[in-house]
Symmetry: C2
Subunit: 329 residues, 2 copies
DNA sequence: TTGTAGGCGTTATCAT
DNA sequence: ATGATAACGCCTACAA
């Protein structure tokens, strides 16, 4: 492993000079600079990240914490996009990244978690889909020991920002679209889980729509569960015109139940999962740009690390209809 | 950040003594040991990974390279499980991990890739679902600069092992099960992509079955594409008794086409995606334990790093039928 | 059994 | 503009 020392010898200069060249410091003659660059090139020099980190040149490390819902399955599409967007963005910003699953975070005490992250030289954390039950992570955010960015959870302080789409607006938009096209006025709204921060926001959007359009609305707690949504649909959808669901998985459950009952009522979802294309019912849903969200979250974390203030970032969403032909490859 | 120095002061011993205790060296009195352990506990001491790495105690770093097929979608379930299994396993072994997407690897020259990995102090690499077109990664393996483990690709040398299920056997097993239950003798086999290493193995298993059971078999190249499988089914399935697909996505395409044509023929897939539960046709498929595979791959990489020989590891598979009730939550 | 001291590869401060 | 040199936190002979 060739080190800065070898480069210095090869170029016939001091170690510190090499360091200056490598880090683009001023006060280095062009001549010396090119000499050093040549030597580095020739020896295939690669700076040692660990050593650089040790000597205070903290190449900031980010921890990405993703939240696989229960076991794995259809919804992982979302996490994969989060990861992809975040990792790519981090590389562009020259940030080192480690990936963690939220389980690892909640399994240990807040202190252990902190220490672990410190030991890993973590300076920033991006948490995807934090929910109200993850107390450890929340405490971590509040401790302000690290710069944190939460996706879909409203935590803001001096060292933390949050990013998400406008969930209320999105829920309003997608429901409005479906209701208008189908002349529906009696709605079953299957909400998300009480422990989800987006649940309230989406419900709020729905209530606004109901008020504006004088809709009759029944609200049920679907817990983001396909099975629960299916049951609820069986019980509550009979006298309704349409079913609005706070997630695609629940929309799938609702639609399936309706099909089983051999009646058709329009259903809409939320997230834009490919799975929706398989339903064959042209359901409207909200497409969130997960990769973009993750990318922005990482950038925001970077901004915080550079002294920026914590803030709330709202990203765009889009109402779409998922067709089989569009989702298959 | 509390360091080994603080622990030493707190325990009233020398730094080196603390180090010895922490690294389980012999020749430390029980008394001193417990004194140090107490101090470490009290101060929430966690060794600094970067520093440890610097001073020859190379806490090996692993790079996980995952291969998102084209864009994101249903199949990401697999990659998430790979990631989860690998990250968990790595943590248990005390390995540091970075996650990369294969795109990043193929975008740069082999040299750039090497340099990047060296700069990151990577010593081991686990590559999931490598295919024949990824020349950069293949060159990386052959260079023997790093210890590598490939999943589902047959690369073995002094510093690399491979792990996978027995694809031939698995294809044989699942097809046999379906064929027996349906008394099928004229088969359409929709194979995977020519650039996939598992494609040939699975075909081989299928050919063995065809020979043994004297089946009439038509083989088509489905390229692991749902759309292609759909087209092929339309063209070739008419006079067949059953359709065997080398992937679940293709099985979905085949089944959908058959449904559209309003005829029923048994179809089986390969992988065990949750999506199969939504088909409502009780298709057989092969469940691979992706988490377990990833976990074993990481362990194997660790073994290589400790001087083990490169080898081939075969993990178990299981023929299952995916039911809606089993996959939903 | 315990402590001392040198070194890992960089960066940063301060002379020169 | 350049070069010594002291950290950074830890490991490891080697000395006591």
């Amino acid at each position: 492993m060739t080190s800065i020392k070898d480069v210095a010898r090869e170029a016939g200069v001091a170690i510190s000079t090499v360091s200056k060249v490598l880090n683009n410091y001023p006060n280095v003659s062009d001549e010396t600079r090119s000499k050093v660059e040549e030597a580095a090139e020739k020896l295939h020099f690669v700076p040692n990240a660990a050593a650089a980190a040790l000597s205070s040149k903290q190449a900031a490390r980010l921890a990405l914490i993703i939240n696989p819902s229960d076991k794995f399955g259809i919804g992982d599409e979302i996490n994969m996009q989060y990861l992809s967007g975040a990792i790519l963005s981090a590389r562009n910003l020259g940030l080192d990244v480690i990936t963690l699953f939220s389980g690892m975070a909640e399994e240990r005490t807040p202190e252990q978690l902190q220490q672990y992250l410190l030991a890993q030289s973590i300076t920033g954390i991006v948490i995807f889909s934090l929910n109200k039950e993850q107390k450890n992570l929340q405490e971590l955010i509040r401790s302000e020991l690290f710069y944190t960015v939460t996706v879909d959870a409203p935590f803001i302080n001096a060292k933390s920002s949050c990013v998400s789409i406008d969930n209320a607006k999105a829920q309003y938009d997608v429901a409005l679209r479906m209701i208008s096209e189908n002349n529906a006025s009696k709605i079953l709204y299957i909400a998300g889980a009480p422990n989800g921060y987006v649940t309230d926001e989406r419900l709020e959007g729905m209530e606004k729509l109901a008020a504006e359009k004088a809709l009759s609305m029944v609200v049920a707690d679907g817990r983001f569960s396909e099975r629960t949504a299916r049951t609820l649909t069986g019980k509550l959808a009979m006298d309704r015109d349409a079913v609005v669901c706070a997630s695609d998985m629940m929309a799938m459950g609702a639609m399936r139940k309706l099909t089983e009952m051999d009646i058709f009522k329009p259903v809409c979802g939320f997230d834009g999962l490919s799975l929706m294309g398989y339903a064959g019912k042209h359901m409207y849903t909200v497409r969130q740009g997960f990769e973009n969200i993750a990318s922005e979250a990482v950038k925001e974390c970077c901004r915080l690390m550079n002294g920026g203030e914590g803030r709330k970032i709202i990203l765009p969403h889009e109402v779409v209809r998922m067709e089989y032909e569009d989702v298959i490859r």
